[in-house]
């Protein structure tokens, strides 16, 4: 039966694709738009807007790490992992244990955090998520909510719910000469550099290595990958390892920049979802772009809301930072559900389509 039918029309929402032709890719348009907005705001509101955008990039770099990891599991396991933020928190606490309790250098903390979360990811897959593979994706989502509850509270039970700090000296912001903007080279710069490094690593892995290609094949069509000879079980486990590692590093970065407490990761979960959705489910590159966009949008909207607060229009100001990012996410969900770089699947499915294309060009 495989491939023989014409497809019975599932998921009507993405049936109609845009007309073919030469177009600037969506994501490039979005970046251009964002840069334009920042430029306009800087002109209108002055340097503070640009500073906000810069902060947004720094914040966004953490989202990039979180979102690319989430996007990997979302793409392969086809469910929204609500425990991803808590994986980050676990990473933060492992680093904390090594850094503060055991007095080691933070880098040792990072290494152990990566190990711990990767193992945790494998454990979760083997014990829970593998068993839910045949079920509706909501089942895995709910299970991940349970996992989230457990992780948060185990950490709280062990470490208490109090806020803790890592033993890392963080210097003050450093002005970037001439532009009137300031940048904290250690705090934000390290975050940016680390994210960039991981992004490059992910890109190289996905495009050059066998594992990366296998991961892409599995995300595209798990059954086809399996019948093509790929060991999908192992690929899935490796996906959790990589996603977990990214989450761990993101968690440690968050711990350095903010602090350590049980809800650390959960609070950024919605932003990371926003990043993945804006960037497009199924595209790690989209998630990376989405992370930066969400970070910048968050800081810019914080800026706008503070201005509105000062103008007396509303009472809340910086607290409304999330609102801008969430509104953008909701808008994307409603009007462009495949995101900026997401894979668009239509009712007929890629395989049947490919076969027909071959027939058309070959002999008819």
């Amino acid at each position: 039966m495989a491939g023989a039918s014409e497809g019975t029309g599932s998921d009507r929402a993405d049936v109609d694709l845009p007309k073919p032709g030469v177009r600037i890719p969506r994501w490039a348009l979005a970046v251009i738009l964002l840069v334009a907005v920042v430029a306009i705001m800087s002109v209108v509101f002055g340097g503070n807007a640009a500073q906000a955008a810069l902060r947004g990039v720094a914040v966004g770099s953490i989202y990039v790490l979180g979102a690319s990891g989430l996007s990997l599991t979302y793409g392969i396991k086809k469910f929204a992992n609500f425990a991803h933020g808590d994986l980050m928190t676990v990473g933060a606490y492992v680093a904390f244990t090594l850094n503060v309790a055991a007095g080691q250098h933070i880098l040792a903390g990072v290494v152990f955090a990566i190990l711990a979360v990767a193992l945790l990811g494998i454990f979760l897959e083997l014990s829970i998520f593998r068993r839910l593979e045949g079920r509706a994706p909501v089942a895995a989502l709910i299970a991940s909510v349970g996992v989230s509850l457990v992780l948060q509270n185990v950490l709280a039970a062990i470490f208490t719910g109090n806020v803790q700090y890592l033993n890392v000296g963080v210097p003050r912001d450093v002005p970037i000469g001439g532009t009137g903007l300031s940048f904290n080279f250690v705090k934000d710069g390290v975050a940016l550099a680390v994210s960039a490094g991981f992004v490059i690593f992910l890109h190289v892995m996905l495009s050059r290595t066998t594992l990366g290609k296998a991961m892409r094949a599995c995300a595209d069509d798990l059954d086809l990958a399996r019948t093509s000879g790929i060991n999908t079980r192992n690929v899935i486990l490796w996906t959790w390892v990589i996603a977990g590692s990214f989450a761990a590093v993101a968690g440690v970065l968050l711990a350095i920049i903010v602090n350590v407490y049980p809800l650390l990761g959960f609070f950024v979960l919605l932003f990371i979802f926003a990043a993945v959705i804006v960037g497009g489910i199924g595209s790690p590159y989209g998630a990376m772009l989405g992370g930066l966009i969400i970070g910048v949008v968050q800081e810019l909207s914080k800026f706008i809301f503070v201005s509105m607060q000062q103008a007396g229009l509303i009472e809340g100001g910086a607290e409304y930072g999330p609102v801008g990012a969430f509104l953008v996410m909701i808008a994307v969900l409603l009007f462009m559900p495949q995101g900026l770089m997401g894979v668009r699947r239509h009712a007929m499915g890629g395989r049947v389509l490919a076969r027909r294309v071959r027939r058309r060009t070959e002999g008819a």
């Binding site: 014409e6 009712a347 389509l353 027939r359």
Partner: protein
């Protein structure tokens, strides 16, 4: 008699591929008309367009004199045109009886204000529908499975359920997408027998089937689709011998 179903110049595209490429055809009332063609000819897509599950880019669909393209699927069903799914889509966690009752034409009990204001009427209609559902189940031979969860049915039983369900909607025409594919011969004969009886009592059937025996024996008229359009149509003998038809099947 005027055709009960008319399809005019329907075009349906999926990402650059024209699955249905300017298709025009019509079906005469009270017939069993077959729709055949090689894989990828656009048959299932056309069915989905006709019942409103897909929106065509161009063209019109007329049912019983009324234009139905652009209408939402539920309205088309209420007008008397219903389609079964090739792979049965039973409502798994509902019983067989409930599956049928869902398909019944709009009842008072489906509207909240009637539920609250006219409970007697609601109950009467419910009982009438239960009775009719049981009759339909009797006709297709699923009566004993009335209270079984649909997920527990065998493949062949699910096929029967698919047809029984569509019948509940009191249709005047049914589009059947491979009604006997993968069904054992005895059951297939029973299904086809039911179809023939229903046709005699006024229903029109338009069916897609790959089993040429079934098509040739049971259909009074056959339409052949190829690459998204109507290639040829005619009596079964004529179609069987038509070189264009043979070529279209071989060329794929």
């Amino acid at each position: 008699m005027p055709p009960i179903l008319e399809v005019r110049d329907i075009v349906k595209t999926f990402g650059g591929i024209r699955a249905v490429d300017g298709c025009t055809l019509s079906v005469a009332p009270q017939t069993i008309t077959g729709l055949i063609g090689p894989n990828g000819a656009g048959k299932s897509t056309l069915f989905n367009v006709i019942v409103g599950l897909f929106a065509a880019e161009e063209g019109e669909v007329h049912f019983d004199g009324q234009r139905i393209d652009g209408l939402p699927p539920f309205r088309i069903v209420r007008n008397g045109l219903i389609k079964t799914f090739q792979i049965p889509r039973e409502l798994r966690n509902l019983t067989v009886l409930e599956n049928l009752m869902v398909a019944a034409p709009p009842m008072a009990g489906e509207r909240l204000h009637e539920l609250l204001l006219r409970p007697g009427q609601v109950r009467r209609e419910e009982e009438a529908v239960i009775k009719r559902a049981e009759d339909v189940l009797e006709t297709v031979g699923l009566r004993e499975l009335r209270d079984e969860y649909a997920r527990n049915l065998s493949g062949g039983q699910k096929k029967l359920l698919e047809i029984a369900r569509a019948l509940m909607a009191k249709p005047r025409m049914m589009l059947l997408d491979e009604p006997v594919a993968g069904v054992n011969p005895t059951l297939a004969q029973r299904i086809l027998g039911v179809i023939e009886e229903l046709r005699a009592s006024g229903l029109t059937f338009f069916l897609v089937e790959h089993d040429m025996d079934v098509v040739m024996k049971r259909c009074s008229w056959i339409i052949v689709m190829h690459q998204g359009r109507r290639l040829v149509e005619g009596l079964p003998e004529a179609i069987k011998a038509d070189p264009r038809v043979i070529e279209s099947y071989l060329g794929v």
